[in-house]
């Protein structure tokens, strides 16, 4: 499905050419500038490994794509470089509860 085994380890991973998000593959620090897939992203906040940033602007209602497949829809407009998570990405299937309020 994905093959990220080649290429340098930059801190962000673009899993599939169609994807409009990139994934942190190490902890990232607020303010870091990272070049990925013809874009330059300023990391908006400290981020743990595995979290997602928007590669480009995503309009409310648009599919968020990872592995080249939709993982939900943008629940509001998302700007390039924004953290993409429970606050702006909604499942088309099951409501995800932020149980401890720690994932905003």
């Amino acid at each position: 499905m994905t093959d990220q085994s080649d290429g340098p380890v930059s801190g962000l991973l673009h899993l599939h050419p169609r994807d409009n998000i990139v994934v942190a593959i190490r902890p990232l620090t607020k303010g870091e500038m990272i070049e990925i897939a013809d874009a330059r992203i300023r990391v908006p906040r400290n981020l743990a490994l595995g979290h997602k940033l928007a590669l480009r602007d995503i309009s409310a209602g648009d599919d968020v794509l990872k592995y080249g497949a939709p993982i939900g829809r943008a629940s509001c407009d998302i700007g390039a470089g924004d953290h993409v998570h429970l606050h702006n990405l909604a499942s088309r299937y099951t409501v995800i509860q932020d149980i401890e309020g720690t994932n905003a």
Binding site: M1, T2, D3, Q4, S5, D6, P8, V9, L13, L15, V23, A24, I25, R26, L47, A48, L49, G50, H51, K52, K66, Y67, A69, P70, I71, G72, V84, H85, L86, L89, A90, S91, R92, Y93, T94, V95, I96, Q97, D98, I99, E100, T102, N103
Partner: protein
């Protein structure tokens, strides 16, 4: 590899004596019977419920006649509803020694423990010299599960497990992936992979059933730890989980305690048909592992990102750690460090080969980390039975 031959033609890579309670009231006696023995030799399983359960009966039958099992000590309180004689007869017919101790008629806890322990001791001694025969990879049944997932699970561990599955399928082994509730969002992609077009609507229906079931439960299969690890939706988690199925054609759908009809890749449908009746399909990872084992799995590949430590009764669990930070903290629990892919230190193919080779090593006498640590987790709860036609969905 070598394995212990069974009367039904299957071979075991372990030769364990099971001590099985047929109601919770007999659980303590089983624990006491097993206490002097190493987990490698003697393991406790059982069904806690007192009310009748066709699912519980089918699962216990499948587990007590699993190829990794050499002998079975059944422990009954005496008044529970479990059809114990039927189970004992079935185990005996499978060619395995079986002993049934009923606590009420034996004279209580101490007498039941003494009688059970004497029999189990004799079985452990007898099994020590049991002859083994050559075993091929094509004779293996392997399950895969992911638990304690984070976003690395879908980046490293699951795709690497998928590579291992592809190798095993090409070698003729039977590979089983599962948790349709964690495949929500992948059903159409998955349906394009069937070997028989007739299976296509069944794949979609199976996942839609899971989505409905979880919606009625009020929760998806999604934990706060998943979100802390960066996963935002069930679809995202699903696509990451789906990667562990590899890229082989899907040969069929099986139900818990059913055996696949042959080699190939099978989807285990863990969600019961009909309206939710007994709660969540599987209350934790161990319940899923036990269902894979009840389908005959000799070993289970467990991909974890957050860091699960579980093993299992009956069949060894190979722990594939997807997250390099987790691996650094918990290396003693992890068999494979798939997280090094993120650090550029290995490729998916290399880690896939490592998983494959560690499974083969289990059949050559090696122990998994969770086995060596004595993990023998077991969970079996109520569920709607799959029905009387094994393999009918294939």
């Amino acid at each position: 590899m070598t394995g212990w031959p069974r009367a039904d033609g299957r071979k075991g890579i372990r030769n364990t004596v099971l001590v099985a309670y047929l109601v919770e009231c007999a659980h303590h006696v089983c624990t006491k019977i097993a206490r002097p023995f190493d987990e490698t030799d003697v393991q406790v399983i059982g069904f806690s419920g007192c009310f009748p359960s066709d699912y519980g009966q089918e699962m216990m039958e499948a587990l007590c006649t699993h190829p990794n099992v050499g002998a079975v000590q059944l422990v009954s309180l005496g008044c529970e509803n479990f059809r114990k004689q039927e189970l004992a007869d079935l185990v005996r017919a499978s060619g395995r020694p079986v002993n049934l101790v009923t606590i009420q008629s034996t004279g209580g806890t101490a007498a039941a423990v003494a009688q059970g322990r004497e029999w189990v001791t004799a079985q452990v001694d007898a099994l020590r010299d049991a002859p083994k025969v050559a075993m091929e990879a094509s004779e293996l049944v392997i399950g895969t599960i992911c638990g304690g997932s984070d976003a690395t699970s879908g980046l490293t561990g699951n795709p690497a497990a998928g590579r291992a599955f592809d190798r095993f399928v090409s070698e003729g082994a039977t590979c089983i992936f599962e948790e349709t509730g964690e495949l929500i969002g992948c059903e159409h992609i998955m349906a394009d992979r069937v070997s028989d077009p007739a299976l296509r609507p069944e794949i979609i229906a199976t996942v839609e059933k899971a989505a409905r079931y979880y919606a009625q439960m009020g929760y998806g299969s999604f934990s706060n730890g998943n979100a802390l690890g960066g996963l935002s939706t069930i679809e995202e988690k699903s696509l990451g989980a789906y990667a562990k199925s590899g890229s082989s054609p899907i040969s069929g759908i099986i139900k818990p305690a059913q055996r696949a009809p042959g080699g190939g890749l099978y989807l285990l449908d863990v969600v019961p048909d009909g309206a939710p009746k007994f709660g969540f399909p599987n209350i934790n990872d161990t319940a899923e592992i036990i269902e894979l084992i009840a389908c005959g799995a000799h070993a289970v590949i467990f991909v974890t990102g957050r860091g699960s430590v579980v093993g299992s009764a009956i069949s060894p669990v190979i722990k594939v750690c997807a997250n390099p930070e987790t691996y650094d903290r918990m290396a003693a629990d992890m068999d494979v460090n798939a997280g090094r892919i993120l650090r550029g230190a290995a490729t998916l193919d290399e880690v896939g080969d490592e998983i494959h080779d560690q499974i083969i090593a289990l059949g050559q006498g090696a122990q998994s980390k969770s086995e060596a640590l004595g993990h023998v987790e077991f969970v079996l709860t109520y569920k709607t039975a799959a029905g009387p036609e094994p393999g009918c969905h294939v």
